[in-house]
């Protein structure tokens, strides 16, 4: 398959930054495609993991962050487990997601960054997850109000959704962790 690379102003593209973030040497990838063969979403997403690796070799820039697989990746880590060169491909995906958020790449179908934010906000606030608040924040953002609503009555009846948040977690420590994470991000900039 032909790969077209749009050259960025940074001539090195993203590869050095990704290597730095993940502590891996991506040049050892020799395109055996075991990652892609085992990837559960490679058939659904446009560019499979081996292609992402190749694009990085060819000095792809920010356009890589718009690839569907960046947010369709399910973090199952099959790619990392099967790489004969021991490349942590799943960590590369995590790094791409962090860059996509930093560089504000356009949100994709399903808006996973919004979901992650909604999830972590409830953790920051309550120390533990609180599904109702998380779901509300996510639905408000995506405007997909009707998805899964037909399941709510039975889930409530089966107490699979808690009406009230748990307040038993050590919220003080959790908040300090989030604060430190922010400070570290600021220091990097």
């Amino acid at each position: 398959m032909a790969i077209t690379i749009k050259k960025n102003v940074e001539t090195e593209g993203l590869i050095r930054r990704i290597e730095q973030m993940t502590g891996t040497d991506l040049s050892t990838c020799y395109q055996c495609k075991r990652c892609t063969s085992g990837c559960p979403v490679s058939k659904l997403a446009g560019s499979p993991p081996s292609e992402i690796m190749r694009r990085l070799h060819l000095k792809a820039g920010d356009e890589l962050l718009d690839s569907e697989i960046v947010w369709m990746c399910v973090s199952c880590e099959t790619c990392s487990a099967r790489c004969p060169m021991g490349i942590d491909v799943a960590a590369v995906m995590d790094a791409l997601r962090q860059l996509a958020r930093e560089k504000k790449a356009a949100p994709q179908e399903g808006n996973v960054p919004l979901f992650n934010r909604a999830f972590l906000e409830t953790v920051k606030f309550f120390g533990r997850t609180y599904d109702i608040a998380m779901i509300a924040a996510y639905k408000l953002g995506t405007r997909k109000f009707m998805d899964d609503t037909e399941k709510f009555p039975s889930m409530l009846k089966k107490r699979k959704i808690a009406l009230l948040p748990s307040l038993k977690g050590d919220r003080k420590t959790t908040r300090r962790i989030f604060q430190k994470a922010n400070e570290r991000k600021e220091a990097e900039r």
Partner: protein, 290 residues
């Protein structure tokens, strides 16, 4: 036998049954589980997809709470188990990370608390023979597709759980209880995990393939050790029915629910009524088998 026990956030919501069945089984087997006071969320997938430090410090906060008691941390959720093991690994690998985490927690944590899945405690500490000897009922030849998913087995150099491509821990337990752990190829395929809400389409497609294979392999039920796998495989069957017109009608039960039935724990305590796809036939089979 005394352990620290981390129920995980889903114990209060979608996986209440995983929690109650773990606690009931532990009690029946004489295993003491102690919840550390003030445990907090491990950050799950959202954590590691967002920020590496966050993904290490969040689980470390709970691990530090059992450190001084010298207890192992037993976890029933495969996702929390995975995040805790990775956090320990990263803290042991990097002094910089250890210092940053200590700064956030207000105390040093060296990454040394042993993290165990409840299944590991059953197999390694108690032993399969002892568990089987305590069983009052047999699984009565029940054909079970044992599904391990991702988070127990990967990354294997960190979790060190069983064989990463063909694990047999669940199968060995099922066989010892008089069931039949099936040979099937989807043991460690992914169910779609945390994309359940954001990319339901992806999860429906992945779970359908897994359920299809379980059925083709002759399974009467699928057993799991992860709340994400459970809810995706169980609840998304309603979407598969609606969108594809296929009824798999495959009960997805936690291994602790199956074991609990064998140990004679009342079905109510095991939360079996919480399953979206009912497991009534299985309960009847096990209840009537000697």
């Amino acid at each position: 036998m005394k352990y620290g026990y981390f129920p995980g956030c889903s114990a209060d919501s979608t996986a209440r049954d995983m929690h109650t069945s773990t606690v009931a089984v532990a009690q029946a087997l004489g295993i003491e589980l102690i919840e550390p006071k003030g445990w907090t969320c491990c950050g799950a997938t959202a954590g590691h997809q967002t920020d590496r430090f966050l993904s290490v410090a969040l689980p470390a906060a709970s691990l530090a709470k059992v450190k001084d008691d010298g207890l192992d941390m037993v976890v029933s959720c495969a996702a929390c188990y995975n995040r805790m093991k990775v956090a320990n690994h990263e803290i042991q690998q990097s002094d910089e990370m250890r210092r940053a985490v200590a700064d956030a927690l207000g105390r040093d944590y060296d990454g040394s608390v042993r993290v165990r899945h409840f299944l590991e405690v059953l197999l390694e500490d108690l032993g399969i023979d002892k568990v089987a000897a305590l069983a009052k009922h047999s699984l009565g030849g029940l054909k079970v597709a044992c599904y391990y998913g991702c988070l127990l087995v990967r990354p294997n150099e960190v979790t060190k759980f069983d064989d990463p491509e063909n694990p047999t821990s669940l199968d060995r337990l099922v066989n010892a209880l008089g069931g039949e752990g099936l040979e099937w190829p989807h043991k460690v395929e992914c169910c779609g995990g945390g994309l359940s809400m954001s990319r339901t389409d992806v999860v429906v497609s992945l779970t359908d393939a897994i359920l299809e294979m379980a059925k083709a392999s002759g399974a009467q039920c699928v057993t799991v050790g992860c709340p994400m796998c459970q809810i995706n495989l169980d609840m998304r069957q309603l979407d598969i029915r609606k969108q594809m017109g296929k009824s798999h009608d495959m009960p997805i039960v936690y291994i602790t629910q199956l074991l609990g039935l064998c140990l004679g724990v009342p079905a109510q305590q095991l939360g079996l009524e919480k399953l979206m796809i009912p497991a009534g036939d299985i309960v009847k089979t096990i209840g009537s088998a000697a």
